[in-house]
């Protein structure tokens, strides 16, 4: 037996499998895919804002009423996010170490801006996620403005008294600074997804041969759909299309 073959002993194999660049890439791809699934779902749910205050708040109440499942979902999403960020940090560090001395000039021939700035986009998105949670979920930032505590607003219906998230959303998006923040963040999201989703299927070894083109289209298409879907909300509020009195 050669020395190299002994290295595939079970323990070494496990260590390799957990620390290998390719394994980390796979973790990044899978968590990215989870995240992509979530943002699609999140967008679809929120588009109900176009259906009016009652429908939208029904939906919010439904989600809030999931009890333990809600916390399982939140924990899951946090884990996904954590692993995604962790692998990104580890891999980026490895990449930087792989080329400590930069070129005076390195031209790109094929890649996209999105691909070149995945890490930067990721940082933007991470900051945005924190802000977004602080904003709508926790109400600690922009929970109240212009003297109104929108986070605490309640809608009284026949069945229940519940949080009036709809009004909080509309009021927020009527603030230019908040709307712009959301629009910019979603452009970043669209760009991140357009490279990330395609990349996921390449890392998974699926986007090859005749499957290459469909997946190369899928990423940008997915990014554009999610991005446009999300941006449509502040735009519609701004244009007075929804939320107008």
């Amino acid at each position: 037996m050669s020395s190299s073959k002994q290295a595939s002993a079970p323990f070494d194999r496990l260590v390799n499998a957990l620390t290998s660049t390719l394994s980390l890439k796979i973790v990044m791809a899978l968590t990215g895919l989870g995240g992509a699934g979530f943002v699609l779902f999140h967008m679809a749910g929120n588009l109900q804002v176009f259906l009016g205050r009652d429908t939208y708040n029904d939906y919010a109440e439904l989600l809030q009423g999931l009890g333990a499942f809600k916390w399982v979902a939140r924990a899951g999403l946090l884990t996904i996010l954590g692993l995604h960020v962790l692998t990104a940090v580890v891999l980026t560090k490895r990449n930087q170490q792989a080329r400590p001395e930069r070129y005076a000039k390195l031209e790109q021939r094929r890649t996209s801006l999105a691909a070149m700035y995945m890490m930067e986009l990721g940082v933007v998105l991470l900051l945005f996620i924190i802000y977004h949670i602080a904003h709508f979920t926790m109400g600690v930032v922009h929970g109240s403005f212009e003297g109104v505590d929108y986070y605490a607003l309640q809608q009284v219906t026949e069945a229940s008294t519940r949080r009036d998230l709809y009004t909080h959303v509309i009021a927020s998006f009527q603030q230019p600074s908040i709307a712009i923040t959301y629009i910019v963040a979603n452009i970043a999201l669209a760009a991140h997804l357009s490279h990330g989703v395609t990349s996921t299927f390449k890392t998974a070894g699926i986007a090859v041969g005749r499957w290459k083109l469909p997946f190369e289209v899928l990423g940008p298409a997915f990014g554009v759909i999610v991005g446009l879907g999300n941006i449509s909300m502040p735009l519609a509020v701004w244009a007075g299309f929804i939320g107008g009195n």
Binding site: S4, N16, A98, R110
Partner: protein, 247 residues
């Protein structure tokens, strides 16, 4: 034609490097390396230190030449090694920047010469079919379809120059490793050891300190043999298959 050059000079591996300006009178029919030969002859006759660069066959197959020209490994023309680049690609008065491959796994030895032995060590880890001399069956015993053969060949065409690493924003050697894995795992002869090979080559690649693939495709765009980036997806697939396997 009057050519202005900005060339990376580095006396040794541990010494600091810098750019040096030179001028050469070139002929449009010269190859890029012949233009550098002329420069070196000038320097030499003037008693100055000529520029060291790797080169050998000068017909695009040995994979020795390695320089980043104006931000492109092997220069501006796609599917071409530096030695096959000709000065007619440039206009009179052009200013050209020349740098070595830059990657921590390819330490600079001198000027534009880098140490690419990392590639050999990766191949040694398992880039082969374990068949001893004399133990081969008759060559026609295993039929191989023309299409699968052609596909395997496209990957086998790698010349090991390292342009993929040089072009990759992450200095990843995935295309190099993937070409060998794809070549052998697409052929029946190489299928027996495919899991072992995928694991070993990826581990060896990591040990050399190359970066990770983020699917830019720059490697393939700069590959003088235009090897498809599909190789990388195939390597990923082989790696996952090997990871899920019990043996």
């Amino acid at each position: 034609m009057d050519i202005k050059l900005k060339i990376w000079r580095q006396p040794g591996p541990d010494q600091a490097g810098f750019f040096e300006d030179h001028r050469v009178e070139a002929d449009p029919h010269m190859s890029f390396l012949e233009m550098l030969d002329v420069l070196n002859e000038q320097l030499l006759v003037a008693g100055k230190d000529p520029v060291a660069f790797d080169h050998d066959c000068r017909e695009g197959i040995c994979g020795a030449c390695s320089m980043v020209i104006d931000g492109h490994p092997h220069g501006p023309r796609a599917g071409t090694t530096t030695c096959q680049l000709h000065m007619r690609e440039y206009h009179d008065g052009a200013e050209i920047t020349i740098e070595p491959w830059r990657a921590s796994a390819f330490p600079i030895i001198k000027d534009l010469v880098v140490d690419r032995s990392a590639f050999d060590r990766i191949q040694q880890a398992g880039g082969y079919v374990s068949v001893g001399t004399g133990s081969a069956p008759d060559a026609n015993t295993i039929p191989i379809g023309k299409r699968e053969l052609d596909e395997a060949f496209d990957y086998a065409a790698c010349i090991g120059c390292g342009a993929c690493v040089a072009a990759c924003p992450n200095a990843s050697s995935m295309l190099f490793v993937a070409s060998k894995v794809a070549h052998l795992s697409l052929l029946p002869q190489g299928k027996v050891e495919r899991k072992h090979r995928a694991r070993k080559l990826v581990a060896a690649m990591d040990a050399e300190g190359f970066g990770s693939c983020t699917n830019h495709g720059e490697c393939s765009a700069s590959c003088p043999k235009s090897i498809s980036v599909d190789a990388i997806a195939l390597l990923n697939r082989e790696f996952i298959r090997a990871g899920l396997a019990r043996d």
